[in-house]
Symmetry: C2
Subunit: 414 residues, 2 copies
């Protein structure tokens, strides 16, 4: 029996360890895989040979449950783009040596766009070399911008956190009987999926957010001020959701222009986001009480508030990746195909990773209203099933318990 190696890469998500859990469990269940190894810090760990034994670290089913409720990569991550084989021979040699040393027949890489590029390059490299190694990508991204899949694991939990936080912020906004504007800045440099999920509280009776700006539509500061004034003619509290990535008509980030004129006390360019920019715009052009709120990294690591659908799907897609590898697939990314919304059903398949890597799945223009300041019904139908269900997590001292992977480098089994 050949052994498997798994690694994680890119930015953290709340559900990425559920895919790790699903893959490890399926490998054990299959009876067709020998050792289960993990590489620390993604492909960099493969190059460096920091390989750990995973099977020995999970003694009970409870251990897997704790892992699934642990945010951010349990194996660590990296931001490293594999060069082409002809430009990075030493790197490929190092990877191959580690695969030989540990007799790796199956390699799984959980990650986003850059990681799928690694899957593409590695699978082609092994094919050219005539080495029997199956290389499979398992998607994860809170941005939901991986093409080829209906959605990506990790997104649903982030969307649920954003929807819930937005709902609570709305309650916070409405306590005072004064005119105010609240701007909530949400992650997503290019794709507006996360910002769109801020609209969801309206399906449970919330009166806001009133305005939603995604990066897919050029942002017009003057139209924004007109939009705010129009909302304020109807309600005293105007609540705005804006993507960190909104751009002006000339293609530059809205916040970038704002920052350029600003230096801090040490002469550094001030690094602020679009929330602060819009806050300043409103203060200048509208003049009422205004504040901006950045939801920040909690959007991607709030494992205390995960979507049960997301965690279940993340586990399943990890488990299917192992099955597909055992069936002989390589050079593919696992994907979800949505069968229906009501009832919500998905099937899991695999697509050639070369069709996926280095491309982005953006929000369709017709899921955004013509004025570009809200989302349409299609968006609600798409998003709602993905945030369904809560995940109970183990606690000690009133706080969640997280799983810690032991980082001792493994000796190959002879």
């Amino acid at each position: 029996m050949r052994n498997m190696l798994i690694a994680q890469s890119g930015g953290p998500t709340a559900a990425i360890n559920a895919s790790l859990s699903g893959a490890i469990q399926e490998a054990i269940r299959s009876g067709e895989i020998g050792q289960v190894y993990g590489a620390l810090n993604g492909i960099q760990g493969v190059v460096a040979g920091t390989i750990v034994d995973l099977k020995a670290q999970f003694k009970t089913q409870e251990d897997f449950s704790v892992l699934e409720c642990t945010p951010a990569m349990a194996l660590g991550s990296c931001r490293f783009r594999l060069p082409d084989p002809d430009k990075g021979k030493e790197i490929y040699d190092a990877i191959e040596a580690v695969f030989d040393k540990y007799d790796i027949g199956y390699f799984f890489y959980i990650g986003g766009n850059d990681s799928m590029d690694t899957v593409d390059k590695l699978s082609k490299y092994f094919a050219v070399k005539g080495k029997d190694v199956k290389v499979i990508g398992i998607p994860k991204t809170i941005d939901n911008d991986l093409p080829g899949s209906d959605h990506s694991p990790g997104f649903g939990s982030s969307a649920k956190f954003i929807a819930t936080a937005m709902q609570e912020i709305i309650r916070d906004c409405y306590v005072y009987d004064t005119d105010s504007v609240t701007i909530v800045e949400i992650m997503g440099r290019h794709a507006g999926w996360l910002t769109a999920s801020a609209a969801l509280p309206r399906t449970v009776g919330a009166r806001a957010p009133h305005l939603i700006y995604l990066p897919e539509v050029p942002f017009d500061p003057e139209q924004f001020i007109r939009d705010v004034k129009e909302v304020q003619s109807l309600t005293r509290n105007c609540i705005v959701a804006v993507s960190e990535g909104v751009r002006l008509a000339d293609g530059t980030f809205a916040a970038e222009n704002f920052q350029s004129g600003v230096v801090d006390a040490f002469g550094h360019r001030y690094l602020s986001g679009v929330g602060k920019y819009l806050e300043s715009l409103v203060r200048d052009k509208v003049g009422c009480k205004v504040r901006s709120i950045e939801l920040n990294v909690l959007q991607r690591c709030s494992s205390h508030l995960m979507s049960a659908t997301d965690v279940r799907e993340a586990r399943r897609i990890g488990s299917y990746a192992v099955r597909f590898a055992l069936q002989g697939h390589t050079g593919v990314m696992m994907v979800f195909e949505r069968v229906s919304n009501k009832p919500y059903m998905v099937r899991i398949d695999a697509k050639p990773v070369s069709e996926i890597a280095n491309r982005e799945q953006l929000v369709p223009r017709d899921w955004i209203n013509p004025k570009g300041n809200d989302v349409t019904e299609e968006m609600f139908d798409y998003l709602l099933p993905l945030i369904e269900g809560e995940v109970p997590y183990p606690t000690v001292n009133g706080m969640p318990v997280h799983f810690v992977i032991e980082k001792t480098v493994a000796e190959p089994v002879k």
Copy 2:
């Protein structure tokens, strides 16, 4: 039977509606109170006569449960300081007229420091006028700075959110194998209780935060840089919790000095917090990857992550306020007295509000380490019981359900 009036004031907390729930339920249960009225937007609503009937709005026990899981004041809030009676005769006349109109014999004000000043003034005013109205303060503050009480309702849930978010941020920090500094800015202008609760993840195995700065100790930027460098000699990821209210030795807010030199693109003074200030300091003096995170209003409104202890106590203290009023107490604030830590036990009592209003309860100096960059064991013993237990909340569409109070002004019952 006389009627009761209740109102909420100051900044939102996650548990403030649990006190409202407890008071309403106790009023009904007692059989000694006629109508149960609420004033919208605190004492301003009393002055304005926006009084709503509360009893009719709760049809089942489930309604109270939903109210208790709703963040921020369900009755709305205000930031209004009652003048002395000789300087605001019209205001007191308006209040008295409303009390007469609705035959109010008991008035409950849920709030923080300023609200207790209102309780003090109103109770004295009615005493001087010889009117039989019992006026009782019910504490709430996330800052935990109300003196006379071991702790205040609302604090425990905020502390739990901060501890949990910090734990998740720590996981997020440790995924990359690079030198980095992460600064988490936490609420609290004068008291460091909230920032101290960021230390709690260390009791469940987290390796951080490494440095904790409270407003009770003067902040020295040069010592801060030395502290960071010392941590970095031991670990690649340095994680800092800092109170928004830390001050330099000269008494000015650390962030204030930073801001003074900074203007935005429109010439406005840049409103940034201490997190951005320290981020800039580290970038300048240490030079590694650095980011700052503001936990923001989620610290006070995250009802999806409440402390069961806090909610239970908030409900009980609301209920006890009604019992104490019926026993004839007035001009008091309800307080917790801690009987023991293990097992955790508190008793509820009342103290003269004149001893409480306009004073602050700060962190004792000996609960902070001599260097002023961490907290001591006493702090852990104090905090841990307050964040114990989770509160299940009702959901629809994967999001929490919140209670909405109907705002129709009530006709007095003849």
